[in-house]
């Protein structure tokens, strides 16, 4: 087993559909992500980003291949995988009737954070994410930016070594997105392994240590930005992406 | 009928377009189709079948149960009584060696059903030789024992009557003097009338329920549902006035209420006739029984008026909801308020007076009931329609007034109708 916090080997997801027959949403994906590293999954809508991350977070079961999170295999020990990750996506909402403080407390407990240190952790997160102003109002009353912050804080409730963010900035305005990117950067510095998906080129350029370009369920390339520039001879990520995408379809 | 209700609001091509759009989407929405259309068609036969099958099943089980009867101290001259008990279907005479107390406790425990104990008659009866008195022990807490009691009592009564008949013959009382006079009951109502009477007992209440139920989902869906799907704002930005949109939605909800109610009437009429057949008469006679076609215009009009009223209130209530669930809980109290009185205050002898004809909803119940029975009190019908139309107009006016509020219309108002009214009253109080 390598030192990588997350290792994906040949992960495949095939849907069987009555009318379309076999649909390979994710096809033989190989990637790794070490702690203190941000891996960006870059792809167009429907490329297989979400399906990959959903498999990694055990929401979907892979039809082929393996993946290890902190040494736990997805299908063999899904429970241990879940304990090691914090997962955030557009489809993971917050409970509307409870407050941010209660939310953090709840997720810390449910994720088996040592009970005697839960309060301490909750305070820490409230402090760090600047939630104190509205920590005791119900989530349903918060604005979407506030909710987003609470959501991210929620993934950290149990201090997991691996964070999986599926298009975290998609619904945010410029300022909120910027703030979120800063937070993600800080989390990397804390030594987390972070995998996040996006279709925003600039975001990937700024934030990612390595970028995996995914198209039609396949990983077309995975390298640092400079590495990708070297291979393609193009400078901008957008050009690089188009290069690979056109290439694969040709 | 929708045209008439809507003409006050100004029906035009746009209203019809939106109305058609709403109807089309409704027919593609599973819940609405199921609650408004499929449920009445499937539910009644299924339910009635289940009831019938259940009754037959229980009856079969009951018939199978033998009544375990113990006779104690039967005089030899009355041997024939034991014989007729033995011959009686479902009675089994159990030989009993133990004490009588043991038999009583066996009945209490359910191991025996009836103990028949013969004893000497009291002083009033001793003058007749061989007379006796019977003590019959049974257990009312057990069906089997109660059933056994009925079977045994029947045999005992028959035996006593036969005995009395023998005695009077011996005394020379003639048949004619003994029979004295005959008593016969004759029902001069035709089977059709009986069936209609029974239908009239059940259907009006169910009409209220189904009209409300059929309007319920469309009302929530046309407001909260649209907000949930974020199609509300799309609708707001089309080149139609708000009144147009509201009118179209209103007509659509009312249409569903009416159609659901009428469909239910047909389904129920068809299923119930079968159930009621044994009460009414032979099947041939019943072939024509049922709700007279001539009653349909009155019933349909009554149903439509009811639906127009229900739809207006439900729309106002649901207009405050932002989610489907919220909409449901906002409408539910009204729904309960609407149907419960009609469910629990049934009185078949209630007369359709002018006073009752002016009470909304209740007047529709009575109107439909009389129409099913084939009775038409024209003044009451007129008053009913008049009062119901006034009521519909008032509820539409109220709906328009509430929906004129920006916050309500756009769904930004916090809380329901209650809080809205409270807010309005307090703002008026402070301004004056």
């Amino acid at each position: 087993m390598s030192a990588a916090s997350v290792r994906i080997e040949g992960l495949t997801k095939v849907f069987y559909d009555d009318s379309r027959g076999e649909v390979r949403a994710v096809d033989d994906v190989h990637v790794e992500c070490a702690s203190g590293e941000i891996l960006g999954l870059l792809g167009a809508n429907g490329a297989g980003k979400t399906t990959t991350l959903r498999m990694l977070s055990t929401v979907l079961t892979p039809t082929g291949g393996c993946a290890w999170v902190m040494g736990h295999e997805l299908r063999e020990a899904p429970q241990d995988v879940r304990l090691s990750i914090g997962f955030y996506s557009a489809s993971t909402a917050l409970y509307p009737k409870i407050t941010p403080r209660e939310t953090l407390r709840f997720f810390a407990r449910v994720n088996r954070y040592p009970p005697d240190r839960v309060e301490e952790r909750v305070e820490l997160l409230i402090d760090r994410f600047g939630l104190s102003e509205y920590a005791d109002s119900r989530v349903e009353k918060l604005s979407s930016g506030m909710k987003q912050k609470v959501s991210i804080a929620r993934t950290l409730a149990h201090d997991p070594p691996v964070l999986i963010f599926d298009e975290p900035t998609v619904a945010l305005d410029v300022l909120n997105a910027l703030e979120l990117r800063e937070i993600i950067g800080q989390l990397r510095d804390d030594g987390k392994a972070i995998i996040f998906s996006t279709h925003v080129m600039s975001e990937a350029e700024q934030l990612c240590d390595r970028i995996a370009i995914i198209h039609n369920g396949r990983i077309l390339a995975c390298d640092t930005l400079d590495g990708l520039r070297g291979v393609t001879g193009k400078h901008y990520l957008e050009e690089i992406f188009v290069h690979f995408a056109r290439d694969s379809e040709a | 009928m929708t045209l008439r209700g809507g003409s006050k609001l100004g029906i035009d091509r746009q209203v019809l377009t939106i109305y058609a759009h709403e109807l089309r989407s409704a027919f593609r929405e599973r819940n609405i189709v199921i609650y408004s259309i499929v449920l009445p068609v499937v539910m009644y036969p299924l339910l009635l079948w289940a009831i019938f099958a259940g009754i037959q099943f229980v009856q079969g089980q009951t018939d199978r149960l033998e009544s375990r009867v113990v006779l104690v101290g039967l005089p030899e001259v009355h041997r024939a009584l034991a014989d007729s008990l033995e011959e009686k279907d479902g009675v089994e005479l159990v030989p009993w060696e133990d004490s009588q107390d043991a038999a009583v406790s066996a009945i209490a425990a359910g191991r025996l059903d009836v103990l028949v104990e013969f004893a000497a008659p009291d002083s009033n009866g001793v003058a007749l030789p061989n007379n006796f008195t019977v003590r019959l022990y049974y257990n009312e807490a057990r069906d089997r024992s109660s059933g056994a009691r009925a079977r045994v009592e029947e045999v005992l009564t028959d035996y006593r009557d036969a005995w009395l008949d023998r005695e009077r013959k011996d005394l020379g009382v003639s048949d004619t003097a003994w029979d004295d006079f005959g008593i016969v009951l004759k029902n001069v109502a035709s089977p059709d009338e009986v069936v209609r009477f029974l239908l009239a007992l059940i259907i009006p209440t169910l009409m209220i329920i189904t009209v409300a139920l059929a309007a319920f989902y469309p009302a929530v869906d046309a407001t909260a549902g649209e907000r949930e799907r974020s199609t509300w704002e799309t609708m707001m930005t089309v080149a139609a006035s708000r009144a147009t949109v509201a009118t179209a939605k209103y007509l659509y909800v009312a249409t569903f209420g009416t159609v659901g109610g009428l469909l239910n009437l047909v389904a129920l009429g068809l299923s119930l006739r079968w159930i009621l057949a044994p009460l009414g008469g032979s099947t041939e006679e019943l072939a024509s029984a049922g709700i007279p076609l001539s009653a349909f215009p009155v019933i349909a009009l009554g149903t439509a008026l009811l639906a127009l009223f229900v739809a207006a209130i439900m729309l106002v209530l649901a207009a405050f909801a932002r989610t489907f669930k919220e909409g449901q809980s906002m409408i539910t109290p009204f729904y309960i308020l609407l149907i419960l009185p009609s469910m629990f205050m049934q009185d078949p002898d209630m007369e359709f007076s002018m006073l009752l004809a002016s009470i909304p909803v209740l007047n529709i119940i009575l109107l439909i009931r009389e129409a099913i029975m084939g009775v038409y009190h024209m003044p009451q019908i007129a008053v009913t329609f008049l009062s119901q139309i006034l009521f519909v107009a008032a509820s539409i006016g109220f709906a328009q007034w509430v929906l004129r509020n920006e916050g309500v219309y756009m769904g930004t108002h916090e809380g329901g109708l209650g809080s809205f009214l409270k807010g309005w009253f307090s703002s008026r109080a402070s301004s004056s």
Partner: protein, 699 residues
Amino acid sequence: MRGTGVRAIYGLEIRSLLRDRRTVFVSIVLPVVLMPLLLLASSRVERSRQQREESRHYKYAVVGSDSTFMLELLGDSVRRDGGEPADSAAPTFETVPTTDALNDLESRAIEFFVESLGPEEWRAFLAEDTARADELEDFHDTPVARVNFRSNRRSSSVGARQLRTRLAEIRRVRRDSVLVEAGFPIHPENLATLDVRNVASAVEVAGARLGRMLTLFVVLLMMAGGGVLATDTLAGEKERGTLVTLLTTGATRAEIIWAKLVAVTSVALVIVLIQIVNLWIYLGLGLIDVSSGFSVSVAPATALVLFVLYVPVAALASGILLITSAYAKTYKEAQLLFMPAMIGLLLPTLAPFLPEVSLSSAIVLVPLANVAIAARDVLVGQANWLMIGIAWLVTAAAAAYAGRIAARALEDENLVAGADSDRAAFLGGPALFRKRVLHWFVVFWAVKILLEMNIAFDDIRWTALFHVGVVFLAAPLLMVWHFKLDIREALALRAPKAGVWLGVVLGAPAALIVVTGFFQLVNLVLPMPRELLENFGQAILPEGIPVWQIVIFLSVIPGIVEELTFRGALLHGLRRRFSPVVLSLVVGGIFGFFHFQIFRIPSTAVLGVILAGITVLTGSIFPAMLWHAINNALALYLGSEGVDLGGGTWMTYASASVALALALWIVWLNRSLYPDLKGQLPSRGAHEHSNSARPEPPG
């Protein structure tokens, strides 16, 4: 499973519920306020109606040739009306003159009228009515009082019956005096007197009455109370997106379901408690007096036992609700599933209505039904604690199992993630047919029963042709047309191997005997009511119809069209959903249910299973058609010849079973399997079909 995880989720559920004020109001506060109000109102209405009936003043008329005699008889009552009423609670009667009694009755001027008929009139009337000819024998030329009423008016039927009772009483008194005058030594009322003694105490009787209803009532309250949370908790969470959040945390599926189960259960129990206490208070304060049977005083110890007994019931009800919630993709869908779940749960609670069901029988193994009976036993005061303990455990185990099923639904990624939208629904066609075929059959069943109830022709041939020929033919054709199916594929219109026919000809008569034997066997467990049993053998062939027509209308046409419906369309639609054996059972069972009579369902289902099996084995509808037609023709023929198949010895049934087995073996040897089944059986001839029977082309 860890306590902290369960506690955290439980706390979250309850807190979220309590903070949803509107839901709490609608589902808890409103019912608590409304229930006593309703009981109060309905008992008031009922009481005032009773009072009105008891003290009612009836106007009626006496008509007919002998009316003076009748008026004299009734004079007592009439006179009483003139003066002060003796007993204010008793109804009073008043005669009014009439010229047209029937008309007055209709116009409500009178409630009923007594026709006083002379002996000759009555004799003439009886002679005319052939159905009452035997009454003529016992008629001894007495006058007759005929009370005419209208049963479509309550006051009329109630009043007429009350007058009849009064007349009977008058007659009894007159008779008794005749007998005494003739010299009977005692007053007739002292002859063979009957003294009925109830050995059950008032508590036991009330307990039996209450015990019959209690579980039904309690489960109803539980469903109403727990339902709101249950539908919201899984289905609602799916819709709001919080379920995925929860599922990617470190809480195990078992912890999640367990916490939710406990939450729903505790809400259900609390609501039941609140409602019962609520009722108790109102009953105790005398605000409501429900009919005397229910004013039962339950000892605290009994109440405690009942509460303990109802804990697993609440858990089971919650478990079932959670399953519906877990399998629904949205809140709306969960609500839709709520109704069938509720009916399914309420059905077993009707068990105490069955006569003489003891807990010391197989019923102890039926969850819910066993607790319902245990509750009744406890209330009657005849508890068998061992059996009650078993009942408790069985229901608790069922609740745990329901929880497991719900937990399994959380593993289903299609349900949880709402992964792919329903493409089948989008595209329509054969793929959609497979999904919808059962829905279609439910509606078809209801339509069929409605048609049978309401449409009958004078000629039995037309009736048969309509209900079998038209309706059963229309259904499969409608499905073929609606879903754009290939008609030959869908209805299995292909030739079987030749050897199959031998098996059919041998098997059909044998199966008829076996099925009849099975019917007898079922009748032991599911006895028919006597009345029905008597009518059952009397389905005689209609007279005056040529034999060949009977064969066509009652055996050939049903053989063809019923097969097209069940072994054709239904089997085709379900073929990929169940393994071949289960497929045959399901198709046969549904066929049974289309024979509405519950006592016929099991035996026709057996025939249906055999026919479905034949179709699966031969891949063709035709052998089943022939089998079905032979079966009907033979049954009709034997019936008309008076041969009772039910009277066979066990030897008859055994040899018929051997013959049937032989026939099925012949079919097996000549099999060419139905194409495209789920988990194909080992087959010889399957390949013949596989070319023509590719799964539908895409689109």
